[in-house]
Point group: D2
Chain length 341, copies 4
């Protein structure tokens, strides 16, 4: 940590900062320039982190040097993490396509879509049984009966299941079905949920919050990793900006930047950012070409009848053609589609 003193800082103020640094067991390295003095604080990460010097007399600025996460960082592990889930691989050279309906509605819609997804070469099947909704008046998912439909889809197709956990109290039934547990964007900083998932040990697909920085996303991953669960897949799904021509701004720079910072796989959800079917294909191709380790996309047999997010769902009948183009885009980035066994 570097503490930049104000040009007007007195010697007494500088000494007080040095004392505080030594007080937490760290070493202070002052550099006195002509205009200002900068003091380095070097020591144990946790101790230094507790030095709350921002408000101290004479202090202009405090600059953190070390990253506030460890287990998620590239420093810990230089090689990209590759996870094998139900026979499919994600990370490294393997691109995983995760597809399925926004929400599980019926046996036919669920199992039928799973078959389409499987036949097109997807790695996993997604479907929501517990849906967080902005409005208390909206449909919030079939709950446990939805989980049973997902289990049927898995039995029929062999595809591993990705489904969202909204509340830690539903963990047990979700663990019975899910191969990957999704944490929604609104729950990215629900720390009790993250801690439980860290303990549960099942792979987690962690969606970036609407307004979360990449550092905060990695800190959220760190909550899970810290409990001993190494299987965290990061997911960019659009951030909130001033633009109103589409739902969220899909931040594809996040892909190469996360890969510089972390060894964890990065997938992209083009459906929720776009909010409209016609934008899903160009964003899927862009994500694949930019080096994403996968995409998670919504498909539906008949979007006009979908209970939720119909406008953004790709029609089942168009899905195989889309997969072909995604395969081509992933190849540009040196990746190969990995299908479930």
């Amino acid at each position: 940590m570097m503490i930049v003193m104000k040009a007007t800082a007195t010697e007494a103020e500088i000494d007080a900062v040095i004392d505080r640094i030594q007080g937490v067991g760290a070493v202070a390295h002052p550099s006195r320039g002509e205009e200002i003095t900068v003091i380095g604080a070097i020591g144990d990460r946790e101790h230094v982190a507790r030095l709350e010097l921002e408000g101290a007399p004479g202090v202009a600025k405090v600059v953190r040097i070390l990253k506030p996460y460890k287990l998620a960082s590239k420093e810990l592990r230089r090689e990209p993490s590759v996870f094998e889930i139900g026979g499919a691989r994600i990370g490294g050279d393997s691109f995983a396509l995760i597809a399925g309906p926004c929400t599980v509605e019926s046996r036919e819609q669920t199992v039928g879509t799973a078959r389409v997804v499987k036949d097109a070469g997807a790695a996993m099947f997604r479907g929501g049984a517990y849906k967080p909704r902005t409005s208390p008046y909206a449909f919030s998912g079939l709950g446990e009966s939805g989980l049973r439909l997902l289990a049927e889809a898995k039995a029929e197709t062999g595809l591993p299941i990705v489904t969202e956990l909204r509340d830690a109290r539903d963990l047990e039934p979700v663990l019975e079905v899910a191969d990957v547990i999704q944490v929604g964007a609104r729950n990215m900083q629900n720390y009790t949920l993250l801690t439980e998932l860290g303990r549960a040990g099942r792979p987690v697909l962690l969606k970036r919050g609407l307004t979360a920085t990449l550092e905060e996303l990695l800190m959220a991953a760190e909550y899970i990793l810290k409990e001993g669960n190494p299987h965290v897949i990061l997911c960019e799904r659009g951030i909130r900006t001033f633009e109103t021509s589409y739902r969220f701004t899909l931040d594809l720079l996040a892909i190469p930047v996360l890969k510089e910072l972390s060894h964890l796989p990065v997938v992209v959800d083009p459906s929720h950012a776009a909010g409209r079917r016609s934008l899903v294909e160009p964003m899927s191709l862009a994500a694949a070409a930019a080096g994403a380790d996968g995409i998670i996309v919504e498909v539906h047999p008949n979007p006009a009848e979908a209970i939720c997010d119909g406008p953004q769902a790709v029609v089942n009948d168009d899905f195989a053609a889309l997969v072909g183009r995604i395969e081509q885009a992933a190849a540009v980035a040196g990746k190969v589609l990995s299908a479930a066994v």
Copy 2:
């Protein structure tokens, strides 16, 4: 809801939209202009809300007309809601000052600060026992023993207690102490938590999420109100923008705009947005002059020793002077400080 058709929409596409509207039991009112056709959909709010027409052929834009919340709205209740909590009033002409440490650390710090706050004329005492932290390595509160210290502060001073609930599973011990339960910004869309608090019936101080629109804040309030708990206090605490000279951008326009949209009281947290002590006073005065129904501010006997957020805490010894100036600013907006009995 108004459905704006594209200039290129065919008659068949227009008819299909009209059919969809009638299919959910609403009435369609088409207006055919020279360039485009606009179709009004008038009917039951929930039914119309389920019309997901954004992706439909020929549709250019869908414009919602009715607000998606009811119980929080000014339409339901024209007069501002005024709540009485432990003898203090909040809302209408009454301005409530809520103050205390970020986190409860010790008996002396807690009870001592509560006395200072009480003597200066505050309405309520705040203090955190469960703290959500971005880093899994940071101190996350004393938990139940923190709650016991808050109970002591209440016993000593008579001040009602405001404290945060982070996880629905801690609801019972929190209910034993809290007069107002705070929902943190990161939990604003934790819908299971909101629903539980709606059922618990205790007043709730609901903080706006970092990236939540005012409409989403009111939707979150609606989750609580819908369960039969009318006592929701809205709290502006800064939103995330591109500016990096301070921690968050305090959105004071939210005060008059929320008051146009809703009858619920609106308070402001200047401490978390500013992140620095020197900015807390100007923002407290601005909030009061803009018509806020209260502020919630952090104070500490010795911020340099504070476990969390010391740099933004007002020093206990300076607090009474600050309260005097806040009283003057509130008077500009026609409000009077309401102290706990």
Copy 3:
């Protein structure tokens, strides 16, 4: 335009709005619902635009229906515009690669880089002679002697030249060299500059402002088109958001959305958004795969010595390999690289 009245609007307020609409020569279509009344105002675009009803008594919301631009819109011209510049084509199935140094520094750097760019198959050569700089103390370009170096590069390679015009008073010398005149992001709403460029008739590459909505970008294009110059190329170059891990957030959703709204070609500048060389390739590939009509990228023989923006420049020696991969990504979107003749 639709005027949504408040639930509390009186008959007199509704009538007053209808009178205002008729007063500008438009036709009013009121629809009275059970809760609220909505009034359509249909008539000449300019007249209706002058109806400033937002503040009027009883009015809850005013919703514009027609787009505020005409000449830039897809309604005017359904087919994508394709421009031929110095033998290269941009738009439709043609992908144009524009490359060169951030700023023109010397004869060797300029002409040498132009040769590298030409050999790799680029469509145009870019280089700045007038540089807008945030700091008044920074280098602001060689000015007219820089333009002469660009002319030499053109004479040597035959590549058409793209260069920025910062001030309308430099228009004449710039017109002597430039085949395409660039408008920088900070000048996107410099309306006098846009109007002059509309009159000059030379193709314009219009960069999106850091905080401009897509609608505002199209309105800025409209300023140029309205003066009779149809050759406007839109350029996405990153918007400002809360994220600080990279310089700007590259908004690739802008590509398909601009193509839905407008017939104008859309190019992407990956260099300025990323700010770092390692991010330029993944973002170039993503832009091409998403359907951009071209990219404009910075290259330099020796970035460590570059006067400006060295850290984001691709090294000349790596450029040909990059072009090969971009060609592959453009093919995914059905486009072919178009080189200068």
Copy 4:
């Protein structure tokens, strides 16, 4: 400047950075920690600023220590600047109220409003003759005949005139009338305009761009100051964020933060941020209570008939009452209204 090396940086990479620093004539201070090395670069501000080390091998992060502006900074001048303009004072303990119509429309509207403004105790009269408009089809001001109407208003009332310069080529006629020249938000980074205004020597009211950081605002001021014109008034007028319930987010934290960074006076424009009359009063009071040195507010005799921005104009008849409340709010911050002589 501090250069933070990656944990993986080699000795050769560290040495190369030290060489680069010494190469520009600065001194390198390396601090080697257990995990990483940090190198301080201390020397002449301009030289150090040219060290573009972000992309260099082994470099993790570059942290600027010195502010990139000098003349605008508090370091240069500890005491707040106070300007006297036409007898009124702005800065220090003096609060200046600047009011008038958005745009000059007619003799009666202009001179009549100037009288109302003068009688209510304003310091200056504002009115636009050249209006930047997002749409090329919108009214863009009366131009020189508008300036003549402003001259009449000044002759009648003695109030100093604040009016916008949109294009440097109109500088001469504007200088004949204006006591303060306004630079609009869209022109905040129009560097040729800023430089011309620096040379013209007339006081400048510089509006913050929609997306400009406070540092960029101060850099824009530096362009003017650097030419020898010390009279720059900074103006906060709302920034662009994700919120859509009002036009722009008024950033009142900018007031105390700018005052920590700079000696220049800070005023607030509540009208353009709010976009609606009902929000102008609470935001005016908040700005005054937060310590602004003035506000610039739009008034109109009959907003329903205003050519531009009618919905946000305060009605002339309500203005005196508003001034009374603003005076009270300014007093909370220790300031007194300063009227034109």
